[in-house]
Symmetry: C2
Subunit: 286 residues, 2 copies
């Protein structure tokens, strides 16, 4: 059966069977939206900013605010000003809130338990395996690439991991320059649950040419097609900026990366800079 048909079939099965169950399980009198919110707040140890919540749950600011008021009224959470920045406010679960959260956790676990209960040990293992695979691939297929300021926390984390990895791999160590202030450079990050999982940038390098920089894919995410997506995305950005050619350099030892570039239509070219860490140079016409 082909991927699309299987996915559609699974989707139907899943929403019909589990979606319904979930609603009836997690709806403890409380509407589902409030429960989900409680999940997020309860899981955050030291409290969580209102803005962070908004990002995570992708809720309207006004709507979220109202939901928070409701949790406060029910005595499940307290919203207090952030000490560092008085505009911001931080949500913290009260004792009752933590209890309600624990209850939700329990219900959610019960639901899962009950779902796998009819299965034998072996089937459970098969299901676990299948779902773990599907989880990785679905996550990979749905991460959103978004532009990011290279000095923002998520970008810094991505670069830190990129550098650490190269440093570990290169015999001579790796000491990169700084991205911060390049005019016209655009950086892109892919995040999953708030953590960066892939990163890359493109910066103008002459009239017609753009250079791709700092391509990185988190190691747990390799083999899920993120690299080629990022590459295509960066090429598209370069195209939009009016460039007709992209170049990039890399270390000879990064064989997966080189394979990726070749698959994407990049051809080897002469050295075009004096980057001491690069021995392989590629270019592609857009």
């Amino acid at each position: 059966m082909d991927a699309v048909a299987t996915l559609r079939r699974f989707n139907r099965t899943y929403t019909q069977r589990i979606g319904v169950l979930e609603e009836s399980f997690l709806g403890t009198g409380r509407p589902l939206g409030v429960s989900r919110l409680l999940f997020e707040i309860g899981a955050a140890e030291g409290g969580i900013g209102v803005g962070d919540l908004r990002d995570r749950l992708d809720l309207d600011a006004g709507y979220l605010s109202r939901l928070l008021r409701r949790l406060e009224d029910d005595g499940l959470a307290r919203v207090v000003p952030d000490r560092a920045d008085g505009r911001r406010r931080v949500v913290r679960a009260t004792a009752a809130g933590r209890e309600a959260f624990a209850d939700l956790e329990q219900r959610s676990a019960d639901l899962a338990e009950r779902l796998v209960a009819p299965l034998t040990e072996r089937q459970r293992a098969r299901l676990t395996d299948a779902l773990a695979t599907a989880d990785l691939l679905v996550r990979a297929a749905t991460v959103r690439l978004r532009p990011i300021d290279p000095t923002a926390p998520a970008a810094r984390e991505a670069v830190r991991r990129y550098v650490a990895e190269l440093d570990a791999r290169f015999s001579g160590g790796f000491a990169p320059g700084d991205d911060a202030a390049e005019p016209g450079a655009v950086y892109v990050v892919a995040t999953s649950d708030g953590r960066p999982v892939a990163y890359g940038g493109v910066r103008p390098a002459g009239e017609e040419t753009a250079e791709i920089k700092r391509m990185w894919v988190g190691d747990a995410w390799r083999g899920a097609g993120l690299g080629s997506r990022m590459l295509r995305h960066l090429e598209e950005l370069a195209r939009q900026q009016g460039h007709r050619r992209v170049v990039l350099d890399t270390h000879r030892s990064l064989t997966e990366a080189i394979a990726l570039y070749e698959r994407a239509g990049y051809a080897p070219v002469e050295r075009y800079n004096d980057n001491p860490y690069a021995q392989a140079f590629f270019a592609k016409e857009l």
Copy 2:
């Protein structure tokens, strides 16, 4: 990772990523409920009864009626009296309705397509595989067993398939007696999407003993734990009826069934009837 944790993780991934996508994709101006309804109506070739729709979508009669009115107003469906029974009404898609349905189908396929698009061929195959497995197991884990009159259509279909299978397997053919009128007998069916996938019954056989009859699991569903669930369920029914012992007979050639009984704690006993098709007899204390 254990099954429950994986399932919970997957569930979050799935509802967050795909649920959201789906809503934005299938919501073509039309509310989701109407779209789902259109899906059902468009898929039914010769029209579908209002009651059938209600069963399938599990909607309130009043609500469904209103939704249908809306489809009629939009020119997507016509609701006409059933010729055979004037109380009933039948919903048929108009040309415009079929078009809208095709459009929905297309969008749904596009969504799936887009979702797998970032994946490589190999990843797609892995995902397909994983989802097909998960689909079978989730379906199996969530089928509901419910009591059924052995003369009801679903029960008849189950028995027909049961008999056909035994007939094909037994060298001498198989010609069963009739279930219909046994006093105190209870039959149970497991249905998935309206089709029976497993069947079985339990009937009193003396003071303390009940007999399990007609245990059958559809062949596409074997190896998913349905058999043992059905068996446990029937034992529970026997227990509720005050029996302390269940017996059953089977053909020697049904090795999977025999393995199932043995795993469930059944022990071989002497022949207790003159069923010409049975050579193996089992009993279990409750």
